[in-house]
Symmetry: C2
Subunit: 362 residues, 2 copies
């Protein structure tokens, strides 16, 4: 399927990144596949476009795909309303759309969480006209954008204090403005710390295979005047051994009730390395990343992606024809390697079964 | 400086890889920068060409650059002989060439070891004519090729038994035929194990930034009918946690008297991960990789290479302009993380100070 590029010249100059927005009834995403070369936009108003955008990582990052899918579902509702004979048919059609969205990527739980919320809103008013419900859904979904930014600011405030005594921090992948609706989770904590006057050297893992660290995190931190230092994933242990890393901070795609956290492949290795070097390892994520339905990380499905993500970089093949590849997109870091989980409801620590239950209830 | 490509059509079909050879008085290297796309050759007969070839990694791998530099020094001797007024001037000129070669890459000790050997041969016969000395040097240097292959076969034999009970092994970078004069060190052990009938799944780390695993190791194992599975460096911990890795085996660029071993960046992280998962971690290297002049790995110089190795892949830039980079080419794995060092003189184990001293003397 061909993406539909939609350039918004005004936004290109804006300093605030809006990975997801609704403009004149169109759902507009920053096309993250094009960064850092080009800041381009992708029209994801049609359901098929949104599913494509999530699968192909036009939009990525657990909180961002959650909100994008919720808005996508609302946009679908607006399309469906005039086509459906009654509200029951409307809800039935919506359910199909919701399931399609939820199936687009398996690991991040925020996708399920956000689409269930906006779908529940539809189900809660069976007596209303479909068009009324659809508009309510869109209003609700758009509010998730501001909610997310507010949540990230709280995560940043809660986490910044943990970096007060740090000279340097290492992050992996992109848990930034681009992975959320703005400010970011792990990068939000870094931004808040820098805002508080902490002088931080930020090391960024390249994050193969998709290079979100090199392509996205470096780019978005540079826009904020924070000049990070890029390393390959293989260098993290060396940097820690040299005493160059005072803390590791990453995002999460799904957190189990016991604190086990799925995040971008490579995160687990960093957690093991951090422990071996007695460096604190922090996970920054909204409460919506916690999956109350699962007890441990063993239950988190790990997405296996296209081998070409490993084999082809910038259109160039790097290994011989016929090369066999494994390409798990995520790994699970066991709770015992996580120093703290930074949420909008506070900094959670072991025993996580207790602190997570409390945070879910607060 | 422009490389001079020299295609040897006969060799392209040969199954035995000869990364370094001397043909009709020319020093011919496989141009490893072109693999796996093209099997091309590089004429490194001139000293400046050999220095370029070592610096730019036309030839790479600690044993290979040792032998290549020794042959390069001998080729220089053959050129110098008719130009020098006497043997003293000849030796003085050779010393300059030797130092230039030794300065081309700092970490691998084999470069020093091999060039010192061939230089010592020149110094040992002050009464001989320069042309006689030069021919002796070339004969000696060319013998290093066969010696190296024989040594690697012994390393393979000594190490293969360690893999008898393994279903899978993980390797990093390229410690194969291409890193030596043939057969390989770490890959030599794998080859010997497979030759013995051990059914091994071989996982190969991509090895960013230069991707020697993806580009070279996959290619050379496939030629032998061993189909490896490529993973990114960030996936090693995940594979270990899944129980998919029974042993890790790597080469080395320099080993200290206490067993600390420098090898390609990322090796140290693997060793930490292997220990955390109680997986044996083996280093396979010839005795010439042991540097008797240094007590610990802290004394091993770590080469910092061009940031563009991280920033540019296959000619395509992956991060924004102005990105700051660190690019250490090697790291040091402390001896306590190394299960055994596999050499041609046997399998060395802790306490390494004792076993290495004995191996050096045997």
């Amino acid at each position: 399927m061909e993406p539909i590029a939609s350039t918004l010249p005004g936004q290109a100059e804006m300093n605030v990144l809006q990975p997801i927005s609704v403009q004149d009834g169109r759902v507009i995403l920053i096309d993250q596949r094009q960064l850092p070369e080009k800041l381009e936009y992708f029209d994801a108003t049609e359901l098929s476009q949104m599913v494509f955008a999530i699968k192909e990582m036009v939009v990525r990052g657990a909180p961002a795909i959650g909100v994008a899918a919720a808005i996508g579902l609302a946009a679908r509702a607006i399309q469906l309303a005039p086509e459906c004979a009654d509200t029951a048919e409307f809800i039935a059609q919506l359910k199909i759309a919701k399931n399609t969205l939820q199936d687009s990527r398996p690991t991040a739980v925020n996708l399920r969480w956000a689409t269930e919320q906006v779908f529940a809103l539809a189900c809660s008013q069976p007596a209303s006209a479909a068009s009324v419900i659809a508009n309510d859904m869109m209003k609700f979904a758009q509010n998730l954008i501001d909610d997310d930014i507010r949540i990230n600011r709280s995560i940043g405030d809660n986490g910044a204090a943990l970096l007060n005594d740090c000279l340097s921090v290492l992050t992996h992948c992109n848990a930034g403005a681009l992975a959320t609706c703005g400010w970011g989770t792990a990068l939000g904590v870094i931004r808040s710390a820098v805002e508080n006057g902490v002088k931080l050297t930020v090391y960024v893992d390249e994050t193969r295979p998709r290079q979100q660290g090199a392509r996205l995190t470096v780019w978005e931190l540079q826009r904020d005047g924070i000049t990070p230092t890029l390393i390959t994933d293989s260098m993290a242990g060396y940097m820690m051994a040299k005493g160059k890393v005072d803390a590791v901070i990453v995002g999460a795609d799904r957190i189990a009730r016991n604190g086990d956290a799925a995040n971008k492949i490579g995160t687990y290795s960093l957690a093991v390395l951090a422990r071996a070097h007695e460096i604190p390892f922090y996970v920054a994520a909204p409460i919506s990343t916690i999956d109350p339905l699962i007890a441990t990380g063993a239950e988190i499905p790990i997405e296996e992606r296209d081998p070409d993500e490993v084999l082809v970089i910038s259109g160039q093949r790097i290994a011989a024809e016929g090369t066999r590849v494994e390409n798990p997109a995520f790994d699970v870091t066991p709770a015992h390697l996580i120093t703290a989980v930074i949420t909008e409801n506070g900094v959670l620590r072991a025993p996580y079964v207790k602190s997570i239950t409390e945070a879910l209830e607060s």
